[in-house]
Amino acid sequence: MARMPNPPERERNDWFCDQVRLHLPELYAAARRLTGNDADAEDLVGDAVARAWVHLESLQQPEAFRGWIFRILTNAFISLKRKRDARPVREPFEEESYSTEPSFSLFEHLHQPFLLWWSNPEQAFLRNLLREDLKAAIDALPEEFRVVVVLCDVQGFSYREIAEALEVPVGTVKSRLSRGRSLLQKELWEQAQDAGLAVPKPSTPRKRSEDAIH
């Protein structure tokens, strides 16, 4: 009596290889943004693919492969990070120091009355952003925030999916995302100023209340 609850090993492996190849540019893009360099990104993808094969049984539906392997990639990144953080090489991340900083809005800095005559400065700014500018701004984010920005804004995962991958409450995802986006916008603004693409404000562009006066 033939019973075939699972496809044969070879067929399973062919399917797995096809899926890996299909999602590789996305997995690599995420790994590159998460780790900040090519060598670690390649190691991370290799690690995630190996873990994925070992846990292939846990994939309930084949069409859920993308979310599933991204979750594995994120977990692999986090466990690498934990191992590294366990060594007292770097200062531990201090969330409190960021939570007291006022949030930064790029829009508010670009949307200045004296610039409004010039078509639409915000949209012009977006059009002129190079991919490299965006990558550099993401790479500059502290890890805690970079992970949520990459998973949400770059890879398009939902808050719930990110919360599950990071094993934190949805509220934590929201607050890290909010802080991460604020830091990202500040970084883009500073890059634009350094490149001479934006006008530095006469007063220090720190507090929203100050900006509102101008």
Partner: protein
């Protein structure tokens, strides 16, 4: 039939919800309230368009060309799992 009363929200409330609105994380009711505000407030509409535009620029980074040698290595690795 009681009419469905839709609460109008102000700019502060709309901006507070903006990120979740753009992430499609608000429920239908809250989303409709933000949408209604954006239809009537130019300032918040411009802000929303900017944040949406930035999000879509970030989405462009979701794929990264992969070095062919790396792709072969990964495929070889995945292929090798079957024989173990």
């Amino acid at each position: 039939m009681p009419s469905i009363e839709r609460r109008t929200i102000d700019c502060e409330e709309a901006l507070r919800r903006l990120a979740e609105y753009l992430d499609h994380e608000l429920g239908d009711g809250l989303e409709a309230e933000v949408e209604q505000h954006l239809e009537t407030c130019r300032s918040c509409f411009s802000r929303a368009e900017f944040e949406r535009g930035l999000k879509s620029r970030l989405r462009e980074l979701r794929h990264q060309p992969v070095d062919p040698a790396f792709e072969s290595r990964i495929c070889e690795l995945a292929r090798g799992f079957t024989t173990s």
